[in-house]
């Protein structure tokens, strides 16, 4: 939150009945706070200290979110809780080398409001120790030079090793990893056993632990708890922006774009409200999603204040295009999304659709509604240059002429036939109308294996004083029915 910028804050964990400082901000550390200090002592030291309970699950989710965003520059990652991760640097060549990869990673972290340090090394321990305890923001360790890079680091860098092992090393009077590395390994093995040998190997820059990529969660969702119950739109939008930023960053990391997102607003007293955002054109742009959410939430009337919100991506697809073209104006897409979102909130989602032709012969079942996802527009200077003049054309011969209006249910038609069985007249719209012209019959039949089989002879008939109509004779009862009009 902006209000906390530069102020002393700390995360607190309860340990054996006492609340102790686990992490502290730079301002708090500068004021003398140290991890492990009790909260009472810390508050006495820094009276303006603000403290929050440490929630490992929330921190891990935030770390995971950041790691997924970093998939933009690395093919895989391995989490190192609570505040670190290993990235697969095999694609460093695409980022202008290993230093470039580090710079790009730090830029991404900075865009999320995180300060970070990065090290490229051949061993996991070397990378972690130098990142956490080294002095440089970016460091690249060449192969087989890990021992030299580690030699100046304090013994605190062995944080994942059993505390008793490190305690023994301290009791020897050792202070740095370089001093440990210079000891004879046989002596360490005799005095400390396998743990001693392991520590010696690590300090010499020899770590054979494998890189195990963390599996990506199947469900893409982000949630946030508000500090205070929100009764107006502004604080909610602030939290929503954070949530959608994270969600879109994760989508971008996976090279995916959202089609449908559900926002769940948790109320206090308990209750919840769901808002569904459906995008006509898949997108991973948080600005657009925030605009849509703002329109939808602004129309809501909620009985209670909002205490938490959750955004879940219900449906996503591959990001169709992330690179803009010359002269492109991506803001134009927002107009379409906003109007569709507004219409679907007022009219209902079913009221808006796009027709998809079905491989069915029965006329009334020949199309099915589906969500409106039009192809991406051709924009920019190149689109104008490349566009060729096109003429209206039928895409396929199978699209024979059909009436522009189809009745929901065929209407029974009273007809007069001549001796040859041809249509002579019919009663239509309250009048007896003479038949001027007939085209047909076109036999449409099918589903003979089911109870709802049909066998119809369709005619396009011109009646006197009326436009062309589409009628059929049903083989089941021999009656004529009006099904559509060529309006």
């Amino acid at each position: 939150m902006p209000a906390l910028a530069g102020r002393p804050i700390a995360f607190v964990e309860e340990f054996k009945g006492q609340r102790r400082i686990l992490f502290a901000s730079s301002a708090a550390l500068a004021a003398g706070l140290r991890p492990g200090m009790t909260l009472a002592a810390a508050t006495a030291l820094v009276t303006t200290l603000r403290h929050f309970a440490y929630r490992p699950d929330v921190e891990r989710a935030a770390l995971m979110s950041l790691a997924e965003q970093l998939l933009l520059i690395a093919p895989a990652f391995q989490l190192c809780p609570p505040d670190g991760m290993w990235l697969d640097a095999s694609a460093a060549a695409l980022c202008d080398g290993e230093e470039g990869l580090c710079r790009r990673a730090l830029e991404i972290c900075a865009s999320r409001g995180c300060r970070a340090r990065a090290t490229v090394a051949s061993e996991a321990f070397t990378a972690r120790a130098l990142t956490r305890h080294g002095r440089k923001t970016i460091e690249v360790v060449l192969p087989r030079t890990g021992a030299r890079a580690l030699e100046a680091l304090p013994l605190d860098a062995l944080e994942h090793i059993d505390g008793s092992t490190v305690g023994i090393l301290r009791s020897f009077g050792l202070t740095s990893l370089g001093e440990v590395a210079s000891l004879p390994p046989g002596a360490l093995l005799v005095r400390m056993g396998a743990a001693g040998l392991l520590v010696h190997r690590l300090c010499r820059g020899e770590d054979d632990s494998a890189f195990v990529p963390t599996a990506l969660p199947e469900v893409l969702e982000e949630s946030i708890d508000l500090d205070w119950p929100a009764e107006s739109l502004e604080p909610l939008l602030f939290a929503l922006k954070t949530t959608l930023d994270r969600l879109c960053a994760r989508l971008a990391g996976r090279k995916r774009a959202a089609i449908r997102i559900t926002l769940t607003l948790k109320l206090d007293p308990p209750g919840e409200e769901r808002v569904c955002l459906i995008l006509a054109r898949p997108s991973a742009r948080s600005k657009l999603l925030l605009e849509l959410a703002r329109h939808r939430i602004a129309d809501l009337t909620l009985p209670n204040p909002i205490v938490a919100l959750k955004a879940t991506v219900d449906q996503f697809c591959e990001d169709p295009e992330t690179q803009l073209r010359l002269g492109d104006e991506p803001e134009g897409d927002a107009a379409l999304e906003v109007v569709l979102s507004r219409l679907s909130s007022v009219l209902g989602e079913d009221a808006l659709f796009c027709a998809q032709l079905q491989p069915v012969h029965r006329p009334e079942a020949a199309y099915a509604p589906k969500s409106f996802h039009p192809p991406a527009p051709e924009r920019g200077l190149l689109a104008d240059a490349e566009r060729s003049v096109r003429t209206i054309s039928q895409s396929d011969e199978v699209l024979v002429q059909r009436p522009s209006r189809l009745l929901e249910r065929p209407a029974s038609l009273a007809v007069d036939l001549d001796q040859e069985g041809d249509l002579r007249s019919a009663r239509l719209l309250g009048k007896h109308r003479k038949v001027l012209a007939v085209s047909g019959p076109e036999r449409v039949c099918g589903e003979w294996w089911a109870d709802a089989s049909y066998n119809r002879d369709y005619y396009r008939v011109y009646f006197e004083g009326f436009g062309p109509a589409w009628i059929f004779r049903d083989d089941r009862d021999g009656q004529f029915y009006l099904q559509g009009m060529f309006d």
Binding site: A351, R405, L406
Partner: protein, 277 residues
Amino acid sequence: MEAAEARHPQVERLRREICRLQAAPRRYLVVLRTGIRSFDELLPSSGLPLGQVLELWGEAASGRTTLALRALASATQENRLAAYVDGPRQLYPLAAAALGVELSRLLIVRPNAPGKLVWTAVQLARSGAFACLALDLTHTAVKMSLAECKRLSDAASRGGCCLLLLTPPEAPADGMIRLEISSSGVQGVRVEVQRSRQGKTGAQAVIPWPSFYPGEPPQFRYRERSGSTASAEGNSKISPCPIHRVKVSWPRDGGGIARSRPGRDVALPQLGSSLGL
């Protein structure tokens, strides 16, 4: 500069290409041409003007919807989006596809309440995302007030959208241009410019039905009062057969009646592959 050019010839080539593209004339869509010459020439701007409301006023089965669909087809063929606000809920998308509409670019809106029809059209037109929009008020008992007409006109102007109003005879609206559409029997559709602030008032034309469809026109047999038989073109050409079968979508291969009886000797044509599914 020369050194830079020598170092980055590709960059320099791209720079020249950008200059060329920026200097090239841009295409701005001002009118939608339906491709039906007699209809386009009837209109004052030789096409359907964008940013205006155009009223297609006439009886049921007069050809209004077909004309509107041709306008939507021309918009989708320009890679623009089109929308159809379907008040009577009767639009048949197959007909739209046959008239050349790209269905993936056509948004169909069917509000449950007739009172929301005009509001929906205003929202869509004002958004600027759609090049052509048809508002079908047939059989909806909606009679637009002058204020609603003004709102629609403003929305179309602001969004640069060609708004087509399909109104029944009993409830005309206040479009900038009003075309009276009526059926002219087998001859086709008669279109008359009833009102236009840009001239050509009173101009009329008959558009033959076959010219609406890009494909091969069907043939008709029609009966005169005396009982004689002639072709749909209306000349002295006599149709040799009493009833003409429309062209089917698969070739006749001697399958006989089994062709129209699924599950018998001859396999059905693959409709799905024809539809690109």
